[in-house]
Symmetry: C2
Subunit: 674 residues, 2 copies
């Protein structure tokens, strides 16, 4: 299985060589403590990574010298990697150059490794390291990936080939596994869940003797790069695996079974971080089956895992997926808040709630979940999805970091000074320690890892952003382009434009004004306006001859008032409601005039023609890169862009035709609608 | 694998015993010719079948005596089975009783067998056999079943369990196979195709040494009951099986390959009737690939099989399944006629075109295919579908014989005295000899054979009707009820009502006024108004805010003028167009007034409320049968009726809501629409 190296495909960089010639012929001094321990192994990884990168980028060999107990203070030049007590925050690092002496210091091994990758980034981007003096502290304690990989090798919502973790119900551990760990560590990822949250069949048995040995080997590979292994868990494991009659969290047999199971697990997998749990969701078993609430359900596992320092990450994606489309009162958007907000304070300290960014499901546009800011006494992380389930499935380019920035910057008005989503999940608002971000991953065994080469920017960007939420989407994209494609300014200019507009373009030609869905059921690719309109999933647009949208104000489902003020009023009041979300919150007539002066229907027509036109321009622009980027990659991207164009036209024509036929209102500009 | 005996589940019948007491203690005299031959074996089957039936129904043992060359003319009483030259038509029979002497005579063994089953039917229904004197001549030479069974055991469009012909890519031959042959022979079926028309993978290899031995055994089982085995064939077999580079009918290597292959096949399978071919249809390979027309494609096979007396049955289901929904000019309905009508006279004599009843695909209501009456010089059979793909999938009751009667009775105005569809496919119009009817079968390995017990009436009815197209749907249903459930008049009354109204009820709550489709794509169960509206399948309703329907008049796609006059004008003229089909032929405003005085939209609302209400009544009525039919069967039927009701409500609400939302026109009676 071959693979590419993404942004770590080091190339000799003459510009960097010239700027940083003081690095040539240097040595690396690694300060380690006595004996074998976790910190040492990561620091050793850091040294080797730096050696390799300097070798490739600056085309010079550096030696590594390990020092135990020895002082390095007498060093006059060279590169020193060491732990220090000065930095208090785990994973933070200090990179400093003074008079030819470059030091990377951190509170822990992981911090040192991150410092090294920071340095490597600067080398790739030809930054001047002279007089560098930077301290970076991660915003989020947890920076996780969630892989929805199944043990048969398929990936749920995977658009980049098959799993590289599993094949034929066995674990795969090979060069690609190492490259994965290295890539992820290079952007600050410190935790990963390797199996699908929908845990069935052989995946249930991951916590059994059949798999411990392999998992332990895998966790060691990850540990070298400071990444903690987590697993998804089947809440019905006491039944499916243990042969018990129940999985009731109040059943003493169940409690005993989990206690024994956790002891067994941690005997074999001492590095394991804990478990991710999707319970009572979309057919998955959970505490509701036994009349217990979500906290009671989660705490069962948290108590059992506590002796081993493990964490239970509990997803909040709980809603009624057997809704009747005729029912206008039930509102799926309300479900997360209704189920979880009243339980604030009831979850044990080693339970972390994992909250999807929006109340629905990773649409191209939806409001931020009102759960953020509603749970002061609960550990929580923000879940986003770089697997482009609803955003073009890595066949369309859709750079998601601008959207994630909007989410992180959203003010919750939760009453704290620092009240943005980024403040809450980082622990700044309420002081939580187990918090951060998780994303559904977009990787697979395609040689380029992410199917669409440009989707690599989402993988890279998620990591960088989760470490430092104040980075701009544009800065991240620039870094990624330079590291992946080199320093050609024309390449940077064109790809940056494509990435930065891609989300807006995708939004334009798909479902309008925040209404969401309108996709083909099941696989979620391509348009189908009524695809979910008469189904059980609670995702309706309620379009009729006169108008469209869901009234979620107090006159409707009341969802707006799950938000704190002023957000509640902002959304409920049509005047102040952001128009990008207006159909999410309001049912409007097609003839309703937006602030742009356009009617809703004309807005739909215009944006759909614009969206397609923008893709056409993207392709024209991209074609200027022929010969400037590797031909194979160029053709791969071009192929996807052309598919995107065809798909965008299908979106435009179906959406416009649907609303034209339904409303009977013509396009003002007389463009072709069918 | 257990199974029930359907209408051949003989029960002791006291009424029949009393009426026909002259039969008690009789013997059967079978006149056979010298040596082993096909006629003898079928006559022997006939004798054994009669012996069994008399034994069970009249509760009396009868002996069988075989006579060779001996005269039976001196017999004064008893039952005589024999071939006679008096009847000229194959499969016709003469059953006559005079003074205690009952004779069954026919031109061939199959006729004798049919005469026996006629007699058995009369015994089950307690008819008086005294003075019986009936000659029955089949209307259709070919009375075929098409099984869409795949070799992995699945059945395409199968709603009655798995295949009983195939399992794990092997043939199954067991008691069920025998019962199948007996059931089919009992209603006059004389030919069957056991594998799916979509021939792929291992099914391609049915014509290879891997399977000959088993097919030969199967064909012998069928031969005992006068049933000829046919197979579906992969037109690309020269490539897939023969390793040639082409399947071009003009390629000498391809011609030679087929000649050799047919010789090989008939060496191993001397009873084989021939092949059914789906070419150039829905992704299947065919002559179009090589720029040859359908006649050139079919004649290749016909020439190769001719030395062995075999037949090539060539399906006319050829259309562009990559249509663009934006294209209003292309009309899938036209395709069959456009491709085949110009080729009349070009097909060899042993090619039979198999024409679906309508131009689309087995909808609950569509017009008759204009190919009927357009091909004077071509052998042809009518294809219907008792597999209820679009008519409730054997979860809804939908007795199809009334619809088949309408199709058969349709006057084509082809210029012959006898010009109905039934006249054409029987050979009466043009004198064809290889013609008749075929149906896609509705059987599977469910114990009751057809999933829904009441779907047995379609299997029974198809056989009876294909033998005698002048039987009424009601008479057939009565027979079937009596033979299946016994002679309780209450059972007969209620089930007859349910069956006879079922098609009309189904039509009411599903797609209105002949427009068709509006089903969930792929599996075709349940409503989805726009399910096919923006897809590539050529099946559009073109509903907008003002109206619905497809203009197929000369002002539209011109499809109407594929019919002969007066049909062409009848359909093209809104005044004379049958309203049940009006949206198939015309695009109408919702406010258009039908002959009933109702508007189109009100008609839609009314029929949908009525349809559901009729199902409710059906269930009420059916419940009166508890205790009158076997409890297990009662519960099985009730279960399906309840599912039908739920599904009918979903149809009603989705259709009504869709059109209400689209038109903005309220129901006059203010009933609930969502």
């Amino acid at each position: 299985m071959s693979f590419e190296k993404m942004w770590l495909n080091y190339q000799k960089n003459e510009k960097s060589q010239v700027i940083n010639r003081f690095m040539l012929g240097q040595s690396i001094y690694v300060c380690i403590s006595e004996g074998e321990n976790q910190e040492n192994r990561v620091i050793r990884t850091a040294a080797k990574e730096l050696q390799e990168a300097i070798g490739d980028i600056l085309d010079t060999h550096v030696d590594i010298y390990e020092k135990i107990h020895e002082s390095v203070d007498e060093c006059l030049e060279g590169i020193i990697l060491r732990r220090t007590d000065v930095l208090k925050t785990p994973d933070a690092y200090h990179v400093k150059e003074r008079d030819g002496l470059l030091s990377i210091e951190a509170n822990n091994g992981r911090g040192v490794l991150y410092g090294v990758f920071d340095l490597i980034r600067r080398l790739q981007c030809a930054s001047n390291l002279k007089r560098l003096d930077v301290i970076e502290t991660p915003d989020n304690p947890l920076r996780m990936l969630n892989h929805w990989d199944n043990m048969d090798g398929s990936i749920e919502r995977g658009y980049s080939g098959q799993s590289f973790f599993f094949k034929n119900h066995e674990l795969c551990i090979n060069d690609r596994t190492h490259m994965y760990a290295k890539l992820m560590a290079s952007v600050g990822i410190n935790a990963t869940v390797i199996n699908n949250v929908n845990v069935k069949d052989s995946a249930t048995e991951l916590i059994s003797s059949r798999y411990y040995k392999y998992l332990q080997v895998l966790s060691e590979v990850f540990a070298d790069y400071g990444i903690t292994l987590y697993l998804s868990l089947n809440y019905a494991a006491p039944i499916d695996l243990g042969g018990l009659a129940s999985a009731d969290p109040f059943d003493s047999e169940v409690i005993a079974w989990w206690e024994q199971k956790m002891q067994e697990i941690y005997t074999h997998l001492p590095h394991l971080g804990g478990f991710l749990v999707k319970a009572d969701s979309e057919g998955r078993p959970g505490p509701f089956t036994y009349g217990r609430n979500q906290a009671e359900g989660a705490n069962l596992l948290a108590r059992a895992i506590k002796p081993y320092g493990g964490t239970i990450i509990w997803r909040c994606f709980v809603y009624n997926c057997q809704q009747d489309w005729r029912d206008y009162n039930t509102d799926r958007a309300r479900a997360g808040y209704d189920y979880f907000a009243p339980l604030d304070g009831e979850f044990l300290e080693n339970v972390v709630l994992q909250i999807k960014n929006g109340p629905m499901d990773f649409q191209v546009r939806e409001p931020v979940s009102p759960l953020f800011g509603a749970m002061e006494h609960t550990q929580q992380i923000l879940e986003v999805q770089i697997a482009q389930e609803y955003t073009g499935q890595q066949r369309h380019v859709c750079y998601l970091i601008p959207m994630f920035k909007e989410i992180l910057d959203f003010k919750t008005y939760c009453g704290q000074d620092e009240d943005r989503v980024s403040d809450i999940v980082s622990g700044r608002s309420y002081g939580q320690k187990l918090c951060g971000m998780a994303t559904v991953a977009n990787t697979g065994n395609d040689t380029n890892w992410t199917g669409h080469d440009l989707a690599g920017a989402n993988l890279y960007g998620y990591g960088r952003l989760s470490f430092n939420t104040s980075l701009s989407a544009e800065a991240i994209a620039k870094e990624w382009i330079q590291r992946t494609f080199g320093l050609d300014p024309e390449v940077e200019h064109i790809l940056l434009n494509i990435l930065m507009q891609s989300h807006s373009t995708y939004e334009k030609y798909t479902s309008p004004l925040g209404i969401g869905w309108m996709v083909e059921p099941n696989h979620h690719y391509g348009p189908n306006v009524d695809g979910y309109e008469y189904s059980r999933w609670g995702t309706y647009h309620r379009a009729d001859h006169l108008g469209i949208g869901v009234d979620r104000t107090p006159q409707g489902t009341g969802y707006t008032h799950q938000y704190k003020e002023h957000n509640a009023s902002m959304y409920a009041d049509l005047e102040s409601c952001p128009e990008a979300l207006v159909l999410f919150f309001h049912h409007l007539k097609y003839t309703h005039e937006l602030k742009t002066g356009k009617t809703v229907i004309q807005h739909i027509y215009d944006t759909h023609f614009e969206g397609v036109s923008e893709v056409e321009t993207m392709i024209q622009e991209f074609k200027r890169l022929q010969g400037r980027i590797e031909q194979q990659v160029y053709l791969r991207i071009l192929d996807r862009l052309e598919e995107q164009l065809e798909s965008a036209r299908e979106w435009r024509d179906q959406i416009n035709t649907y609303f034209y036929r339904k409303s009977g209102i013509s396009d003002k500009h007389g463009r072709q609608i069918f």
